[in-house]
Symmetry: C2
Subunit: 229 residues, 2 copies
Amino acid sequence: MVSQTVIRRNRSRPPAAYVARSAPTNSHSIRASNNLMGAKMSFARNAEIYSENEPIEYLYRVISGAVRAYKVLNDGRRQIGAFYLPGDIFALEVGDEHLFSAEAIVDSEVLVVKRSVLVALAARDIKVAGHLCMLTAEELQRAHDHLLLLIKAAQERVASFLLEMAARSASANELHLPMTRQDVADYLGLTIETVSRTLTQLQKSGTIKIPTSRHIILRSRATLSRLSA
Amino acid sequence: MVSQTVIRRNRSRPPAAYVARSAPTNSHSIRASNNLMGAKMSFARNAEIYSENEPIEYLYRVISGAVRAYKVLNDGRRQIGAFYLPGDIFALEVGDEHLFSAEAIVDSEVLVVKRSVLVALAARDIKVAGHLCMLTAEELQRAHDHLLLLIKAAQERVASFLLEMAARSASANELHLPMTRQDVADYLGLTIETVSRTLTQLQKSGTIKIPTSRHIILRSRATLSRLSA
DNA sequence: CGTGCAGTTGAGCAAATTCAACGCTTGTGG
DNA sequence: CCACAAGCGTTGAATTTGCTCAACTGCACG
């Protein structure tokens, strides 16, 4: 029993996601290029964006905030498959239903595009199809990297995680983590206590500094790199 | 240190894969449908089919035998990302280079199709593009399932593995495993000893029977299902 | 001011790994 | 044809890692 969170079915969660009445704009000129246009929606912290086994209606892009995609095993253990940060596109699944659930980690804004529109577009424009396929492939690579993470020892996982987050954040040596320790633990396949202890240990060894629990400064990337593999 | 195989760089391996001079056939009528045509190649047991970071030249389909796709961490630990059995298509990666290495587990035959041909075809025929994209998506789902495997306890992983292999093999309750215990261990993120012990334990409890180490009979799928999650 | 959530820390425990030895089978060379 | 080495698999004992359970702190919010 390598346990993670056991999901309490009635977790404290804001009543509902509210949909921001969004820019009444050019929703006809949807393009699947880098600057994908669509409607803007807002989700409160911990609000569900979509749920596993729900029919797929939209493709999303994070504008601000952060999103977690996860699965829950029958016995309640939760595995977070990915964190999505501003700029990231998510819900690229093929098939009719979502394979993951997605929730806003903090209050977040996302751009949404109707999947049907995109599919229709892709059917006519091979460029769009190629772009979508590439995004799927990137997702695949992400999953593979994550796989490799999960065979490592606890310290290696935490070090890898810090480096990954640093690579994805604006400032190279300073991190703001939008997610809780529990989220990190469920992403890394560890318990919250192990994550906490490992971080403390990294701080004691001078490798990182933790001014506040969500704010981490990498003092020695070299050490982290060495520890991460 | 959750260790797997430490790859001995000079493993005993047949001198080289030999390429069977293959059917001189209709290589013009290549179709990306279910019956993908191409050249047939043969690989001896443990022969390398392609290696990580090599440019991608072909797409492969297993005719007979079995293939493992794996990555090796800098410190030598090996993670097997997937096993491919007859009918399975592999090396569907986007980008220019292979992200995994692939080896024949036993003497195997594979059908190969030049990637460039396929890509050209996909650029003209949206059906082909869609098909390729779907295959990639299936690969993604496989990776996600594998991810979930890796957060489970040892017994759960082994049970899941047996059920997965049973689902993919001809006879529902009888398995022939083409791979070694080491391969299984590296797929499941466990050690060879743990795999061996767990199988023995499953046999003692009457859940499975192991006439020979590569031949396993599932006596109670129900129990395995219960153990697998 | 009390309650609840997030995070940390400690002690004991269980699971899986490491290290080591051994049996079986297979292939090879004398 | 036999002896022997090598690979594969199993088993046992000791060790380690990370988990479980529990207590405690700080902080935010009502």
